[in-house]
């Protein structure tokens, strides 16, 4: 009796988790503007690149360490800049960012990336 109750509660939990995930995906696809989806895809790309570099560092060792730091730091920084761009271009955040426009946010994004890439090129070695 106790085992049946446990398995049924596990099934209910799994169903609820999958239900939540699918509902989230549907809501995201329906209600998120395309601009934000583009930025989200870019952010996911930055995460994947960072994780791959980290796995490589774990397998092959840290030498040369500065190159790993430059690459991983670049991925993290790109993610942060993209997150900021997303926050500023999200129409729902207009109250928090009353001044400025999405084009202004994009300008800041580009400027930050230029500065970042020079720093990374300097640190790569």
């Amino acid at each position: 009796m106790a085992r049946e109750a446990t398995s049924s509660s596990n099934e209910a939990f799994a169903t609820s988790v999958s239900g939540i995930v699918s509902s989230l995906a549907r809501d995201y696809a329906a209600n998120t503007p395309q601009r934000l989806k583009v930025i989200d895809a870019y952010m996911a790309f930055c995460v994947v690149v960072g994780v791959l570099q980290f796995v490589y560092c774990g397998l092959a060792g840290t030498f040369p360490y500065n190159a790993f730091l430059a690459g991983f730091g670049s991925a993290v920084a790109c993610f942060v800049f993209a997150a900021n761009l997303r926050m500023k271009t999200n129409p729902k955040n207009r109250a928090q960012f009353p001044t400025g426009s999405p084009e202004g946010a994009f300008t800041e994004f580009v400027f930050c990336h230029i500065a970042l890439h020079f720093i990374v090129a300097n640190f790569l070695g």
């Binding site: 790309f45 690149v49 791959l52 580009v110 230029i114 090129a121």
Partner: protein, 275 residues
Amino acid sequence: MKPFSLVKIAAALCVLASTCIAAISTSNVVVKVMERTGDKLFEKKLAYPKTFDNGPTITAATPFSVSFDASSDRTGKALALDQAFVSLRNMETGDEMAFAAKMGKNGSYRMDVTRKQFRSHLGAMPGKHMVSLVLGSFDEGGLFYELGEVQVAGKKRIGNADVLYGPRDEIHHRFAEPQRMPNVLLSLVFAGLVAAPLLALVGVWVRMGVNMSNLAKEPVGSSALMVLVAAYMALAVAYWIGVRLLPMLAYVLALALPTYLVGQYALSRRIQLGL
């Protein structure tokens, strides 16, 4: 020829002075060797001129301390000494190391040989050492008090310690081991793996419906801005390969104004056109 020890001269003068002028007297002389945990390995209280026998072995891990009170024979009051050293003299080589004793309250003094001091000063001269107090006061004279012998642990240094002006021992430099490089195949596989998400990103964007159709509505400014941003990226790559900072900075400054102006024009045009 060994130079005559300055500490020996000071000690001799102290002894001579103490016979002529009113002397310094010591009390509560305690020689202590402790474990790192705080347990006492050796503790001996002495009264002048007695010495201790069966002295302990001092290592970097066992703090060694000597504490004492100094007072004037003439007035009986606690004394602020002008010179308070604890000298450790190697009985074999004659090398000496003097540690200053710090004054506490009411004429009490304490000297501690810390681990760092042991490694930097005593570690290179192991063996039997005579511990002595070398005290001096301008008004009261001096005192030289041999407390006893201790054994300083450590490895004897290689080479002839007596040679002062001759050739030193040859130094054999040990180069750092070269870093272990990863397998070339592993590096190439991961280089390909890291490039793959970029293709996936472009594919996802295309699937989302990202296109360049709006570029035709405002071609000049947008294209020029992209060319200038690409120029900055190329400059970063050139800097990475060539590593010439000042020319790179000159190019950065040269590109800055056109990029700003073109960006301003392109983005304001996009706002005007409602893109």
